[in-house]
């Protein structure tokens, strides 16, 4: 089943008959009319007609989602977001028109709409078209909008050039967004990002401010030279979550020096060997 059909099916299970009738009629109108106004009026009206409840999904639904679109994770979507993205996808047979409509919608979006449009990024046709829109969205100062792009969204890891990817990860730390919900965090790690993150850690240390333990996740694989010294410092002097993070990072490194550092911490090495440590664990639950 296509994502649009899945969204329609999930919504039909939970919204009242009246809302369903409105949504069916609006979707048909968007599909057939060719008028911009039908799209933006319907998208605006969604919160009034469909409401803002959580989208109720089962494990089977989540499996359907990732089968339909690899990496798509709608577990934190709401009904209004689902309906808005569904209405936009009514134009999917005409990718240029969809792109034009979406650009207009983004330019006049309210806060809730922005989050919805960006959550829909992995579902729009001709994916590479939306890189500039996504990076523009990340310039927001609104954390919820930032997280709509950065979290549980396969789009950035699939489409972003390295500079945009690195800026997104660094900004996540700046705005206090968690790193682990970022899709592709390990596969998109790179030496330049590792360097930027270590520089950032030094800035924070100089200011006497805490450093998120998650930061080291993107350092481990490419840690060498002074970066290993940074990890050593965290391993020796950090809080427990920080020490666990340093151990996980060193464990990921291919450098012999990293293994040597870990050997000095037998308890940590044991936990690693038992698989007791994980990146999700070291930060407080969401």
């Amino acid at each position: 089943m296509r994502p649009r059909e899945l969204l329609a099916r999930w919504l039909s299970r939970q919204i009242p008959a009246e809302a369903q009738a409105w949504l069916d009629k609006s979707a048909a109108q968007v599909r057939s009319s060719g008028k911009d106004a039908d799209l933006y009026l319907a998208v605006s009206l969604v919160t009034r007609k469909v409401g803002k409840a959580d989208l109720m999904l089962t494990e089977a639904d989540l499996r359907d989602a990732s089968t339909s679109r690899n990496g798509w994770d709608p577990r934190q979507w709401s009904a209004d977001q689902a309906a808005r993205v569904m209405l936009i996808l009514e134009l999917e047979s005409d990718p240029s028109r969809l792109a034009r409509g979406l650009e207009q919608l983004c330019n006049t979006a309210d806060v809730g709409e922005q989050a919805a449009f960006y959550r829909g990024l992995p579902l729009y046709p001709e994916q590479p078209r939306y890189v500039a829109r996504a990076t523009e969205g990340l310039r927001t100062n609104m954390k919820a909008v930032f997280e709509a792009i950065a979290h549980r969204n396969p789009y950035p890891s699939e489409q972003f050039p390295e500079l945009a990817w690195n800026q997104m990860v660094l900004k996540a730390l700046f705005v206090g967004a968690l790193l682990w919900p970022i899709v592709g965090l390990d596969s998109r790690a790179n030496p330049e990002l590792a360097r930027m993150l270590c520089d950032y850690a030094h800035e924070r240390w100089s200011a006497g401010r805490p450093v998120s333990p998650e930061l080291w996740r993107c350092v481990g694989l490419y840690a060498s030279g002074t970066m290993l010294q940074d990890l050593e410092r965290v391993l020796k002097k950090g809080t427990e979550p920080e020490r666990a993070a340093a151990a996980l990072a060193l464990h990921a490194s291919r450098e012999p020096a990293a293994a040597a550092l870990l050997e000095r911490e037998p308890a940590m090495t044991k936990s690693l060997a038992r698989g007791d440590l994980s990146w999700e664990q070291i930060v407080a639950p969401h």
Binding site: A37, Y40, L41, S44, L45, T47, R48, K52, Q76, S78, Q81, N107, T108, A109, D110, V111, G112, E113, Q114, A115, N141, M142, K143, A144, E147, F174, A207, R209
Partner: protein, 308 residues
């Protein structure tokens, strides 16, 4: 006590204002679209402004535990630039039905020119068609005539008086407005000295039926605490608490609540804090009565200064 400031241009205010308003018990504000103190020269500038009213400003307010609603419309001053006005009116439908848009406004007359009249009427038709509440700005010059004309034209275009708020009233206009069945809003201007005192007299004389107050604070000299301060003065002068409550809270809610976009439960029973609701400070006023006579001490922000 809780307060609503149903006419305030928060985009022109600082976060210090938001902090003080929250501390004084303001739970919700309505920001009507208006001009920038100087005329815009193109509709793109208006589009970005309207987007900020439904986007960034809403988020900014939420950080301080204040619920931000807005009114969308083309103001009377800029209605006089015919080319701009035509484009802006064409843009309005993109915004009018968005979440949290409680009225079409502020619209009406400034110099009472034919261009203003044309735009006012076009927007009244739009409000009628979309079943919206209307916020009417009454002119500062030739006020009485302008106010009466505003109401006559609204009636002519089929708007129910109970769904139209006539703003910026004074002692000379209030009777006409109430007699015709419209809502009468009063703007409390600072440095007129009599601002708050006059409002006490109006409350004494006309009671609390369909009357409410706002600050209309903007980038000019104005006081974002005008509503709570007036409430305090009214209570000190012996106006009954239930009347003060209606004038400074309940009536604005009843008038703009007709839109279905503003409910008391928005702040009394807020959704749990999560990343989707965007509302980070919504528990601030829970179980805690802010007091108008005891503005809370502001936190010492110097302690929190950091280099970013």
């Amino acid at each position: 006590m809780r307060f609503i400031d149903p006419h305030i241009h928060m985009s022109a205010r600082t976060t210090d204002d938001y902090e003080r308003m929250a501390a004084a018990g303001v739970v919700a504000v309505i920001e009507p679209a208006f001009w920038l103190g100087q005329p815009r020269t193109n509709s793109g500038s208006y589009l970005d402004y309207l987007s900020s009213l439904v986007g960034w400003e809403r988020f900014r307010a939420a950080q301080f535990g204040i619920h931000h609603y807005c009114a969308i419309g083309l103001n009377a001053k800029e209605a006089n630039n015919a080319a701009l006005a035509e484009e802006v009116i064409a843009l309005l439908p993109r915004y009018l039905l968005k979440e949290g848009v409680v009225a079409l406004g502020e619209i009406g007359y400034d110099d009472q020119t034919p261009a203003e009249d044309k735009c006012y009427r076009a927007q009244l038709d739009m409000a009628k068609e979309l079943d919206m509440v209307v916020m009417v700005h009454t002119p500062h010059r030739d006020k009485k005539t302008g106010t009466v004309t505003s109401m006559k034209v609204a009636e002519e275009h089929g708007l129910a008086p109970g769904r139209v708020i006539i703003d910026h009233n004074n002692e000379e206009t209030v009777e006409d407005v109430l007699n015709r069945g419209f809502w009468a809003a009063f703007t409390l201007y600072p440095h007129t000295k009599m601002g708050n005192e006059r409002m006490v007299e109006i409350a004494r004389r006309y009671g609390s039926e369909r009357i409410f107050v706002d600050s209309s604070s903007d980038w000019g000299v104005s006081d974002p605490l005008a509503v709570p301060k007036t409430a305090k003065l009214m209570l000190e002068r012996g106006i009954k608490t239930e009347d003060v409550d209606k004038i400074c809270y309940g009536n604005a809610l009843a008038a703009y609540g007709q839109s279905g976009q503003m409910k008391e439960s928005d702040w009394l029973d807020p959704a749990p804090i999560d990343q989707r609701t965007l509302f980070e400070g919504n528990s601030v006023l829970r179980g805690q009565q802010a007091r108008v006579d005891e503005l809370q001490q502001m936190p010492d922000r110097l302690k929190d200064v950091v280099f970013k």
